[in-house]
Symmetry: C2
Subunit: 290 residues, 2 copies
């Protein structure tokens, strides 16, 4: 696997090992910041504008004022790939915190936000994309503003860890039985050739892959109903799938040990995966060859 040593720090490019944070960084003490993970295929960003737009929305929601424009940030992120000679599949992790200042709940004045971004190699997870994954269900105990992609991720970590300890890939989160999303992805139920998913309220993240799916279904003429489904609906579901920038569109074939539908990835999920590969301009089309 390649090593990508160049990091974006503020508007400079520095070596990965040289970037260190002081003990009173607000991300470190409060989780006071926001982030994005942007997918890269063949050295090119996928859903680039969507991610950058969301980063600015998240920042604004927690009142962090960025020191440069979207256009400037996009230039820097593109330059980051160039400087790392990035030509494979991967991702960029990017984070913005309110900055470093003596610890105080009240926002510091006159402090620059801390921005950094780095590249990682990330081959497509072909096994899970093809075969699907098993998930658990878990109460959604998070705060109300999950539409903000913030660094306050402890409940997400706890749910994902519990999934892993149960031999599963993800956790479907629910509020009193109403399904919101997964710990790090959006989730969808297919029934009678319609797709159901939680509306984009404050309680869930408006995923960038979800935005792409909203385009795909229009072209494919599959109804997407923004109406949250219940845990109870899963036993009668025809298909279930999740989406995120690292998981793409992944079939869910088992929930809490019970198979979904016939226990295999469904037709509509396959169609969306195919649309995804075309949209992302992925050269080796694994779905068509499955």
């Amino acid at each position: 696997m390649s090593v990508f040593p160049v990091i974006l720090s503020q508007d400079k490019f520095v070596h990965r090992d040289s970037l260190k944070f002081p003990l009173e960084e607000r991300a470190l003490q409060f989780g006071d910041g926001v982030y994005e993970v942007i997918r890269i295929y063949n050295g090119k960003y996928y859903l680039f504008n969507e991610h950058v737009d969301r980063l600015y929305r998240s920042s604004k929601a927690i009142k962090i004022k960025l020191s440069y424009s979207k256009e400037k940030l996009k230039e820097l992120l593109l330059e980051l790939l160039n400087r790392n000679k990035m030509i494979e599949d991967g991702k960029v992790y990017m984070q913005i915190s309110r900055g470093s200042a003596p610890r105080d709940h009240v926002f510091p004045e006159g402090v620059e936000p801390n921005i950094y971004a780095y590249v990682q190699s990330l081959p497509r997870n072909l096994s899970t994309i093809k075969k699907g994954v098993s998930v658990i269900t878990h109460r959604d105990i998070r705060w109300e503003n999950c539409y903000i992609k913030s660094l306050n991720l402890l409940p997400n970590l706890m749910a994902k860890q519990e999934a892993k300890e149960n031999g599963c890939y993800e956790a479907i989160l629910h509020q009193d039985g109403l399904v919101t999303e997964c710990s790090a992805s959006n989730v969808y139920l297919v029934k009678d050739e319609k797709i159901f998913t939680h509306p984009t309220t404050r309680n869930i993240l408006h995923g960038c892959v979800r935005m792409a799916i909203e385009r795909f279904v229009e072209e494919l003429q599959i109804p997407l109903v923004e109406d949250a489904f219940l845990l109870n609906d899963i036993s009668d579901a025809d298909e279930l799938f999740l989406s995120s920038s690292t998981s793409e569109i992944t079939p869910i074939v088992s929930v809490d040990g019970h198979p979904v539908g016939d226990g295999k990835p469904g037709e509509i999920t396959r169609k969306l995966q195919d649309a995804y590969e075309k949209d992302a301009n992925i050269q080796e089309n694994i779905i068509a060859n499955a």
Copy 2:
């Protein structure tokens, strides 16, 4: 104000400026950790055991296994004061994260938690303790596990910042009108010589000063009713006050611009402040001299 250059890092003492964190520290990317702020009077810890016990409870709740015992940690924290020649009023901030590892929601294996603690000067805020403070009310939008003193503090920051922007000291948080606590303190209502406060469920922090107050009321024979009060109850309250390690016991004299009771610190609040000063062995008793 004194400078205290020595920091506890893991089980070593290092210079403040030498402690730096890499970009994949889990506190920095996930808020994946817990913390404590311990009050110091005249160079001595107050409610020391309570804070250390809670730190271990919080760590356990998020499945961080500490590498040394409570006794060893207490020794290190006492040594921290010695090495800094700390003899005045102050506080120690202490933080434990799950450690540094390549970013993944799932907990890393074989990684040591990162522990650090540092000393700060903190004179008592005599003005607010004597005169009381104004607060706003704010919806409690936090996650369900606020009994864990975690580094996921964004909703608390947002509420405190809104208080400050309204010229206030704190924000009283409520769930549909039911008062839980403040953004960084517990809150109490006095009516007919009884004290009401939210029970110590998962939804609030069990404050160390609150634990002390539970002792004080027993001695003073003042009934403390663990029954949450409503925002609506505030207009008829005789007194209102808050407690935390940095705010001690502080009267609340105004809520959303409306005076509490006669708009002055109340009798029961004064009695508790007096008990606090005695318990903390504070030499210059400001309450008696008020």
